[in-house]
Amino acid sequence: MSSITTKLATAAVNRTLFNAPYSSVAIRKLFEVSNGYRSEANVIPSASWAAAQRGPDGLVTAKTFMNAGPTIGNLPKRLYSSAAAVNSSKSVIIPDTSKYRKDSGTYTSRSFAYLMVGATGVMTASAAKVSVTDFLTNLSASADVLAMAKAEVDLSKVPEGKNITIKWRGKPIFIRHRTAGEIAEANSVKLSDLKDPQSDAERARKPEWLIMIGVCTHLGCVPIGEAGDFGGWYCPCHGSHYDISGRIRKGPAPLNLEVPQYEFEGDTLIVG
């Protein structure tokens, strides 16, 4: 009897509890089932229960079967299984997690999190700014191009009443040291007589120096200095006449000769 009790206890530990009534036949049957042993002499024809748990591949992963009569006399046999009962006095035990907890306080923990977020933001902002500025720097002119973009002229070597021509960005630049008579002549022209009205003061920052791009505004020829009907420049290609201020007076050209950006540094002229 004690070994049967042990078997019953084992069955209970195995999370299956058979609450079968204590009839000798049923107990023997239970004993045989739990031992995988069957006494051939005492086979009792009876109803059987069998349950099989199948995995997704169809294989039987667990199998429970029991042969026992469904009734004892007139009484239906109660046969059920349940999960092992939980000992409630021990179910609320909380493991000690102090070893794994942070040593820092609440505010330190939160501030650290925000600090990390902020540091990531700082890195992202810097990276974004640098990529934009690097991209734009890449678009701007390099130092050698910028150095070629300016031309310096020593004006002290240009005598009064003379032209010189220099090259700037692949184009000729006319520089004329005008006499007082030429300045007066340029100022005496009425703006209403001009095709492209511009006063002489708009074209020459210092009246004695006239600086222009030497490209005819008609089709891009280079005009000839000290020629033409108006004492200025004359374009031989299609006969445009420019006056002593470089303004178009006669011929097909639509605009005055262009004035580049320039500045004076003492006796030196910097074009560009």
Binding site: S98, S111, L115
Partner: protein
């Protein structure tokens, strides 16, 4: 330090001040991020330029300019 005492430490007090002044309002937090990024970039650029100049001492134009250019 036991965790139940950490809430009263000086570090936690500092963290609390930091949180109240800098992190609590999103506008202040964002302004802080951008200004820190500005300062950080200044410092980073200066430091990296200095390291570069140190590693390439005597090789750059500004180091040998005196030999070739008069002014």
């Amino acid at each position: 330090m036991p965790s139940h005492l950490a809430n009263y430490s000086s570090l936690n007090g500092f963290s609390r001040t930091l949180y109240q002044t800098l992190f609590k309002r999103n506008t202040v937090f964002l302004v802080g991020i951008f200004s820190t990024a500005f300062v950080f970039e200044l410092g980073f650029d200066t430091a990296s330029d200095r390291i570069w100049d140190h590693l390439n001492k005597g090789k750059q134009w500004k180091d040998i300019k005196d030999k070739y250019a008069s002014n």
